[in-house]
């Protein structure tokens, strides 16, 4: 019985081996077909539009004439453009910095409490990240309301003058960053908590025996062990924050007088609402340098891993 079974199988495989597999039975072909939808999506809906926007940026407003770098020349002459560049950089750098710091602090505190309660706290603290940003920004918008601001009501209790959260340019910039930090810090917290848990306890014991205080333990043990995860999260977050749209759009829509526009919201205003698609495309292309920087870092990282393996 057993012999017969193995016998027939042997014949079968031998017959299969003798026949050269057809194109559609080859492993590489099947694999390619399996990956084909992915390739199509990436090629048609990501790569093609990305390249097309570079082409669009070289056309005039009615998209009939090639103007080369005319759109960029026009942008460089506008004061609003430089304001948007400045605001995008301030927004991204400040927000990422505070997200990373708050994330690190909160992760540290969650890590410090007994294991039993950590799940509960972690669950509570991640809520801002789970709510769709367009919805939670509405809540902030309401908290910042000029006449019914709940913050100003609290401030009035302790005798602080009402703050024009979204009315004044500087406060509006502050508010936009605050909401972004509120939304993004929990993500950092989760990442850093996972990283903290992977630091071996022995290292801290060794450091304590050598007489390190908590600051030295943080600086010489925790941070070096978390270096990779900190770099990756900061890089990702910088890219995402630089390209942020939802929060600024809902909270201020760029106002007051274009003071809080970032690249994405300004591109939307010019390209979709203003009908000047090439100009909008030119503005959105300014998000590319930071993207390229991220790509270089990640490719280097992948190559390094490839060499180690």
């Amino acid at each position: 019985m057993v012999d017969a079974a193995t016998g027939t199988m042997g014949v079968g495989t031998r017959a299969a081996a003798r026949r050269r597999p057809g194109l559609f039975q080859r492993k590489s072909t099947i694999a390619f077909l399996m990956a084909l939808p992915l390739i199509l999506i990436i090629a048609l809906l990501v790569l093609y539009p990305a390249l097309y926007s570079m082409h669009l940026a070289t056309l005039n407003k009615s998209m009939e004439r090639f103007v080369g770098l005319g759109n960029f020349e026009f942008l460089f002459k506008r004061e609003t453009f430089w304001m948007v560049v400045q605001q995008s950089c301030i927004f991204a750098i400040t927000a990422v910095l505070f997200k990373a710091l708050i994330g690190l602090f909160v992760a540290h505190f969650v890590h410090a409490i007994p294991n039993k309660g950590q799940r509960k706290w972690r669950g509570m603290l991640l809520v801002p990240w789970v709510i769709p940003p367009a919805m939670s920004t509405l809540a902030w918008f309401w908290l910042f309301d000029p006449s019914y601001s709940a913050f100003n009501w609290l401030f009035a209790l302790v005798g602080i003058d009402p703050v024009p959260w979204l009315g004044d340019a500087y406060w509006a910039r502050f508010s936009v960053i605050l909401v972004n930090v509120w939304y993004g810090a929990p993500f950092f917290m989760i990442m850093y908590l996972a990283a903290l848990k992977s630091v071996p306890e022995q290292l801290y014991e060794a450091a304590s025996i050598d007489g390190a205080n908590w600051w030295q333990r943080l600086w010489y043990v925790t941070l070096p062990m978390m270096r990779n995860i900190i770099l990756i999260t900061v890089l990702f977050s910088t890219i995402v924050t630089f390209a942020n749209f939802d929060i600024v759009r809902v909270l201020t829509a760029g106002g007051p007088i274009d003071q809080t526009h970032v690249f994405a919201t300004w591109a939307f205003k010019l390209g979709i609402e203003g009908g000047d698609i090439p100009l909008g495309a030119s503005v959105s292309l300014f998000m590319l340098p930071i993207l390229g920087l991220g790509a270089i870092f990640i490719l280097r990282d992948i190559n390094k891993r490839g060499n180690e393996a």
Partner: protein
């Protein structure tokens, strides 16, 4: 003997030192809790305030009373929204799109991740890296050229893509597929090679290896990817804002912002109710599947 006694004499200082360590630990713990409570208040304040406002009448909102307290709770806002056809249309659009996008994403990214992690073909390693890089390209870079492309499609074929909710079914996968493929590659790569080699030796085809072995073994990863795809599609704001305008084609985030905010008249009770109900599906999923949710979040970076 004498020295031993002497040591004993010197002893009392030592228990005090131990005591101080445990006391400093306790103090650190108390401080941790204090800061955690402060941050929890900061993180939970907007959703809580949404809930407080959603229970108020317009009169109470415009009265100069304590905004942090409900004096006269009412469910009128909920009843009004849940019986409004318009709001239910937004909800339905959002639900259909998110579920369909999850299905499309899984159908695309699971086979692709299997092919990229197990079956090498020409260019497969480059493609795996490329998948990750496309994840980094933000939608804010793509919406303008896509808008123009869709206008071209209309000019040449007469198919109107703009202002139809189903066009989002083409757009959302660009946000979900790269990341889901990437984390699925990670999960599939962690499955021991012996397992699929054994299946191949037993005569299973590649498709059978995928459906009988890889999908069941990597199920936690698939759940994490599903949750990610759902929450991303549910929360997406830019694409629907740019590509849909008629009120019957809108999804929740855009619908709430464009229809409930009418000029200068803000009906904040309803806006907050709408936003809270709109945030409910992701929150409920998160409440029940928190561990998968967090696994999906951390997988992207740690396996990268």
């Amino acid at each position: 003997m004498a020295t031993a006694v002497l040591h004993d004499r010197g002893g009392p200082s030592r228990p005090v030192r131990y005591g101080s360590i445990s006391r400093s630990r306790k103090r650190a713990l108390v401080w941790s809790y204090v800061f955690l409570v402060i941050f929890a208040i900061f993180f939970l304040m907007p959703p809580v305030y949404m809930f407080i406002t959603s229970l108020k009448t317009s009169q109470e909102i415009s009265a100069a009373t304590n905004p942090w307290w409900v004096f006269d709770p009412t469910l009128a806002n909920y009843i009004e929204l849940l019986s409004s056809n318009q709001y239910l249309t937004f909800f339905k659009n959002s639900a259909i799109i998110s579920i369909a996008v999850v299905i499309i994403t899984m159908c695309v990214s699971i086979p692709a991740a299997f092919a990229l992690s197990r079956m090498k073909f020409w260019g497969s390693t480059t493609l795996a890296t490329g998948v990750f890089l496309t994840y980094l390209i933000p939608e804010t870079l793509l919406f303008i050229p896509l808008f123009k492309t869709f206008a071209f499609v209309y000019e040449y074929t007469g198919i109107q893509l703009i202002n139809n909710w189903w066009v989002l079914l083409f757009l959302y996968p660009t946000l979900t597929v790269p990341f889901c493929t990437w984390i699925m590659i990670g999960y599939f790569a962690s499955i021991p090679k012996e397992l699929d080699e054994a299946a191949i030796i037993d005569g299973a085809s590649y498709v059978q290896t995928l459906t009988r072995i890889f999908i069941p073994v990597a199920l936690p990863g698939i759940i994490a990817a599903t949750i990610f795809a759902f929450t991303v599609s549910w929360a997406q704001f830019l694409y629907p804002l740019a590509f849909t305008t008629s009120t019957d084609q809108l999804v929740l985030p855009v619908g709430i912002i464009t229809t409930l905010i009418k000029g200068d008249v803000f009906n904040w009770g309803q806006i907050m109710t709408g936003a809270l109900l709109g945030a409910a599906p992701p929150l409920i999923i998160y409440a029940f599947l928190m561990d998968y949710y967090i696994a999906g979040l951390t997988a992207g970076a740690t396996k990268g």
